[in-house]
Symmetry: C2
Subunit: 188 residues, 2 copies
């Protein structure tokens, strides 16, 4: 087994990520990954015991990077806006679709996805808790619910924008901006 974190290890995950993004997981094969990196097929199985293991490693690497991004956003002066921007733009929605489909088939991936959702939700809920405390008018939704709502909206908007659907998107963005202006005023 090749060393986790080595140059080849990263290069193979880079190649796999590009294939997944551009062609979907039906094209994510050991031969294609090897071809992209410029090595022979056999080497893929030296660094990753099976293709399922490769997929799990790929997701874990992406999730770790995303959690770092979320934590950095949470530490910024206007964390809610920062989180909203990340949710809207960071992760390619095609990749999400591929991983979701794969998670139903690969048990180890499913566990990683669940853990990532829970960790992200905790970070976001904590931020919302702080933000809502600083606002006088009591909301009728708790911070956890609001966190879920905002996440779900970001996912839907990203997905539909990638498809080419924009119906009602401008209206949503305006409503979200108005909400952020209330909770996190820009002139504070």
């Amino acid at each position: 087994m090749g060393p986790e974190g080595s140059d080849n290890w990263h290069a193979m995950l880079d190649g796999a990520e590009a294939i997944l993004r551009e062609e979907g997981h039906a094209a994510l094969t050991s031969r294609r990954v090897a071809e992209r990196v410029g090595v022979k097929q056999r080497l893929v199985y030296y660094y990753f015991r099976t293709m399922d293991d490769l997929v799990i490693s790929l997701f874990r690497r992406m999730a770790e990077r995303e959690v770092i991004r979320l934590k950095a956003a949470a530490a910024q002066p206007r964390p809610l806006r920062a989180l909203w921007d990340i949710s809207l733009h960071s992760t390619d929605s095609r990749l999400i679709a591929e991983f979701m489909a794969l998670a139903h088939r690969i048990e180890g991936l499913k566990r990683e996805v669940i853990q990532f959702i829970e960790v992200s939700r905790e970070i976001e809920t904590e931020v919302l808790k702080g933000a809502l405390e600083r606002v006088p008018q009591g909301r009728n939704m708790g911070p956890a619910s609001l966190s879920v709502t905002i996440t779900s909206l970001a996912l839907l908007l990203s997905r539909e924008r990638q498809l080419g659907v924009t119906m009602a998107h401008a209206e949503i963005m305006a409503a979200l901006d108005a909400f952020l202006d209330q909770v996190e005023p820009l002139d504070s």
Copy 2:
């Protein structure tokens, strides 16, 4: 080419749907479909020119049924609750994940998905418009935005429930129920 709507045509789509739901689209092959229906592989290509065509036909059949369900719900006494129930329970979220992943690869499927989203949004927005008119307190969101928000929440809740994540779900359901009580009181 075999006749659209014939018994075999439906049987093959039934088999394909079950495979997609249970094992994902990597297992959706002409051989597996034929095996499930109890015919030879060659016949699948008689009814559907290619496997991509089969997938498109499968989605279109599901979408047509779903639109019928949505329209029926919109005509009920409490249409908003009916739509919410449908969104939460009707379509398997694993199927959605598979179709979303496939839509990025199959251009014809992508077009069908886009059309389905737009038609559904129109139906739901129309219902919300009527429901909000009957409520005195003006909302800060328009009917289209609310429609998108409710749809996105239903999709996220279904997806996470299927994965096994329930963090904040009860809170969301309670908030939604409270909203529905306001807009569509049960004792009216």
